[in-house]
């Protein structure tokens, strides 16, 4: 089985988000970058599937050279090789089209993404790739099994879960619970240094959405404290003052 895992590189979840240049740019000072957590789940599930059934796992990333440390980490976790498409990942349209353009002729059986990146939160790349390549798309999967060419997946739907079947090749996006992420070991880290990381020039897709400026949520006023002994008063406040219950 030939699996492609699409990964984005995002600020660590503990990052305090701030902006520079009159709120037009994300402030990267002191920020640690990680593999997008949902993409890491895709990668781990891909490795589990190929370890059990044979095959290869390729990771692909659309981004500039500064993301190569994170790509090496994906190789250390166990991916066999990596592709970096050399383009600024401006929006989901650009990222998905670039990946589809490259992957279309490569004969992948399974293409995995995360259900969204935790920075841009678009949640669109997997669906766009599937649409470009005319493949079935299973969004937000918490379980993914492959038997021969048949995929069985459980996906989150609004207000519940759905079990679906479809045939390879297809695209799926990972949700929490798909598997547990792996920590790379020393052997993996050593091996990653010599694994192929190919840089591919972008095909020049135009982004259709540009983030012009950013803002932080408005600051909250001071908290109104209620004595624990009179906790019941809170209910009246929520009813009469906040008018929310």
């Amino acid at each position: 089985m030939k699996i492609l895992v699409c990964m984005s590189v995002v600020p660590d979840t503990t990052t305090k988000i701030t902006f520079t240049d009159n709120n037009t740019k994300f402030n990267t000072a002191g920020v640690q970058y990680i593999i997008n957590p949902y993409d890491e789940l895709s990668l781990t599930r891909a490795l589990e599937l190929t370890e059990a059934q044979g095959g290869t796992v390729t990771v692909i990333h659309v981004g500039l050279a500064d993301s190569e440390a994170s790509i090496r980490k994906a190789l250390a976790i166990g991916a066999h090789d990596a592709i970096r498409i050399n383009a600024e990942p401006v929006d989901a349209t650009l990222v998905a089209q670039e990946i589809a353009n490259w992957a279309g002729s490569q004969g992948f059986d399974l293409i995995l993404t995360g259900r969204e990146s935790i920075d841009y939160n678009g949640g669109l790349v997997g669906g766009l790739i599937a649409a470009h390549l005319d493949l079935p798309f299973i969004n937000i999967v918490t379980q993914l099994d492959v038997a021969g060419t048949e995929v069985t997946a459980i996906r989150d739907i609004d207000g519940g879960k759905e079990t679906v079947k479809a045939n390879l090749p297809l695209v799926a996006s990972a949700q929490k619970d798909l598997t547990e992420p792996r920590i790379p070991n020393m052997r993996g880290i050593m091996a990653a240094r010599t694994k192929p990381l190919q840089v591919v020039e972008a095909s020049g897709v135009q982004a259709l959405g540009q983030s012009l400026s950013f803002e932080l949520p408005p600051a909250k006023g001071a908290v109104k404290l209620i004595d624990a002994e009179k906790a019941g008063d809170l209910i009246q406040m929520l009813h009469q003052e906040a008018k929310i219950i």
Binding site: F19, L124, L234, I235
Partner: protein, 323 residues
Amino acid sequence: MSILIFAESSEGKFKKAVFEAVSYGKEVADKLGVEVNVLCASTQVPTDADLAALGKFGANKVWKMTLSEDRPAAMAEALADAAGKCGARVVVISNNYNGKSIAPALAVQLKASIASGVISVPDTNNGFQVKRGVYSGKAFAQVNLTSVVKILAITPNTFAIKESGNDAAVEAFSASISDASYRLKAQSVNKVQGKIPLTEAEVVVSGGRGMKGPENWGLIEDLATTLGAATACSKPVADMDWRPHEEHVGQTGITIKPNLYIAVGISGAIQHLAGVSSSKVIVAINKDPEAPFFKVADYGIVGDAFDVLPRLIAAAKELKAAQ
């Protein structure tokens, strides 16, 4: 030219998000001086009376189409056809799981751009700009969309439902749906029974490590049931399997935006706050007066959850009995 809105139905009924989407679409349509068309494509289309009633929120015409299976790909194909027929420049859908499965398939068919998680009406004075959530609730971005057709996936519980007009005209709609849209075969569907889905809840009661163990969740559930709320939890609670992962709110769980979020025994790590900070009113209950949650809460109680919760439940029952 027009605005096209996707009206999602579940078991023959519309949810509140549809009324929000139509009200939102009406506002956008008025800005652009165009009509509001609605498409409802589902296995169980609501009654004509329910469809016509979308006119109250601003729909001029409502198209109905019965699908053989409820697949997002089929809905996208029907929407693409409808968008072509009514010359839609903007397509509005809800930013829920179904909407996020439909939007990309639709975008490729219409060569459209998409903004998901939209929280503003477009500013058309300088391009076509909308505000959307980024960094998992930690910030917002002003995004300019440059394609001819734009898809806006709007965040539920963000836009007011506005009643303005009269009943809309209801017409049957037909579009050919390719076999490719039915390549996923549903084996079974498990809907959460007797509980309010977290993503749709207006009130959420959420528990953290301060609850000490899954056996104590009866208190959280009691308060939630009394308030008509959904239950949620913090990441450590989901990681320890005290609660299912679907209840995990935060940066790597789900982002929610209820009217009221009550956090019990949750310290308020930055990742958790990211997922809930857009809630309209936040209540924090924690033993530790230094808990970060108190910095973002509107109301706070410094105290032990096991003392505070029974008092809240009693007061909430009293209020509900009086209502």
